[in-house]
């Protein structure tokens, strides 16, 4: 891999930028790998990268039915935060947020991590109390958060309507100064390039169509490019987890629903933080291109169509107009959807599947982009060792039977 640097930029300028090498190879699948990862989203690619980097497992393929990063990784609103209520979540999401801090340097790829700060508004007394509880919980877990009084909220984000007779007045906010955003595509590309450099085969346009299980053990997968044998299989397919589980003969505590987002036409810089308004079900930030990036709640019924319902767009922007009156005359530029994998407690599943040799990483639902490096980090350890590491262990599928829910749905009604 030729490193990217300011010198490389200058050198390549001499040849009119015609000489850059491809960021990753386009290999044909080999007949056998030690580990096959299904799904080249951020999580699958991060898993492959950390398998090679941290555990020396390099005979790895990542198999993707479309193009890498084309699933939810390339469709999300890129909010990164770790102010989660439960201890297990704080450990996982803060590990991930921390990894984002120097990921550009580690991957030698500018993922444009922008710790601009994430503000979660309190707009009802109940929400204020719930967020204060989260504030104290995160502090106990060593996650830096602060309480922002209404005046601080206004100074952090002047376009917020702080009028006292607003239907949902601003009562304060939970402020995580080192939360923020990153460029979603770049996260996928950076992990793909770095994993490829360590010998991982990223195989695109190759759908997994069947999982071969012999005597209760996985032995390989059937793909649109033929059969591939493997010793271990990692399923990291987000909204298609139930489909892959079905191929391998087990069921998941997952339901797939559509989640959508939209951007406005680009305008001049008007907000430099991320604001989430969970009571009214909407959140907003401004992209480097100037578009306001807006998201809301999931569509709420089983859905594999990768599109959203129109009335949800309307609901989200209607809700946000009162808090951000400035957006009332803006036009919508684009709208899109992704298929997200929802669990009953709104926490992910990381660990062993009921079939020997199969590992699952899914259930990230509406909020897994922020977890991309952390998820890959602990899932790689889980696959390499055959047993979950400390961070992953609480997120086993068995928690549903054991009544050990990691309940994040109360703390974060919409949150991403």
């Amino acid at each position: 891999m030729k490193r990217y640097s300011v010198f490389a930029l200058a050198r390549n300028a001499m040849s009119y930028h015609q000489g850059w090498e491809r960021a990753w190879r386009a290999p044909e699948p080999k007949s056998e790998y030690d580990v096959v990862i299904v799904g080249a989203g951020g999580h699958g690619l991060a898993t492959a990268y950390y398998l090679a980097k941290n555990h020396g497992v390099r005979n790895v393929a990542v198999i993707e039915k479309g193009w890498l990063g084309g699933g939810n990784t390339g469709r999300n609103t890129t909010i990164i935060r770790s102010n989660y209520l439960q201890d297990e979540s704080a450990a996982l999401y803060e590990l991930s947020r921390g990894l984002f801090e120097d990921l550009s340097q580690k991957l030698n790829f500018n993922i444009m991590f922008s710790p601009r700060g994430v503000l979660m508004l309190a707009q009802t007394e109940h929400e204020k109390r719930a967020l204060k509880r989260t504030l104290h919980a995160t502090r106990l877990n060593g996650v830096h958060t602060e309480w922002a009084e209404p005046s601080k909220v206004k100074s952090l984000c002047p376009i917020i309507n702080d009028s006292a007779d607003a239907r949902f007045p601003i009562l304060g906010g939970l402020w995580q100064p080192r939360g923020g955003t990153a460029r979603h595509d770049a996260v996928a590309w950076g992990f793909a390039r770095a994993a490829d450099d360590l010998g991982v085969d990223v195989i695109q346009n190759c759908a997994v169509e069947g999982v071969d299980v012999q005597g209760g053990r996985v032995v390989g997968v059937q793909t649109s490019k033929g059969a591939i044998r493997c010793k271990k299989l990692g399923i990291v397919v987000a909204g298609h987890s139930s489909v892959l589980a079905d191929m391998a003969g087990f069921r998941m505590p997952i339901e797939s629903v559509a989640l959508q987002a939209l951007v406005s036409e680009p305008i001049k810089p008007c907000m430099d933080i991320v604001v989430m308004a969970n009571t009214v079900h909407g959140y907003m930030s401004q992209s480097d291109k100037g578009e306001l990036v807006i998201g809301g709640g999931a569509d709420g019924f089983n859905n594999y169509s990768q599109r959203g319902s129109f009335h949800h767009v309307e609901e989200t922007v209607t809700a946000l107009v009162e808090t951000f009156p400035i957006i009332s005359r803006l036009k919508m530029l684009r709208q899109w959807g992704g298929v997200v994998d929802m669990t009953g407690d709104r926490s992910p599943i990381i660990g062993k599947a009921p079939v020997e040799g199969i590992f699952v990483n899914c259930g990230w639902g509406t909020g897994g982009f922020k977890a991309t490096p952390g998820s890959g980090h602990c899932f790689a350890a889980t696959i390499a060792q055959g047993e979950p590491d400390d961070v992953a262990a609480p997120f086993s599928m068995g928690r549903f039977a054991e009544g050990r829910m990691i309940d994040e749905s109360v703390a974060a009604a919409v949150a991403h």
Binding site: D246, E255, F301, N302, N303, S305
Partner: protein
Amino acid sequence: MLRIPCPYCGPRDHAEFDYGGDATVVWPALDDTTEAWVEALYFRDDPKGPHRELWRHARGCRLWLIVERDTVTHEISAAHPAHPGMADEVTAQSQAETPSA
């Protein structure tokens, strides 16, 4: 946006309905095993394709329906009353309530 053909009210806009999830779940007996209850509560087929599901016409007749819908195309092939016998009762009632002209 879906349009659900309510057997009581006719085709109505998605926004009038609440979703009730997978209609194929069979609730175990109260004294059944934990495993059976965990399966029923949390585990789903979550199929990509035809899905049998519950909807409640909350902003309409307020009755529960079983709808056959494709989760990829959103095509709705059928919508039945969730409680057999309810249809006749509702029709009888509404006829009785209709004021004579």
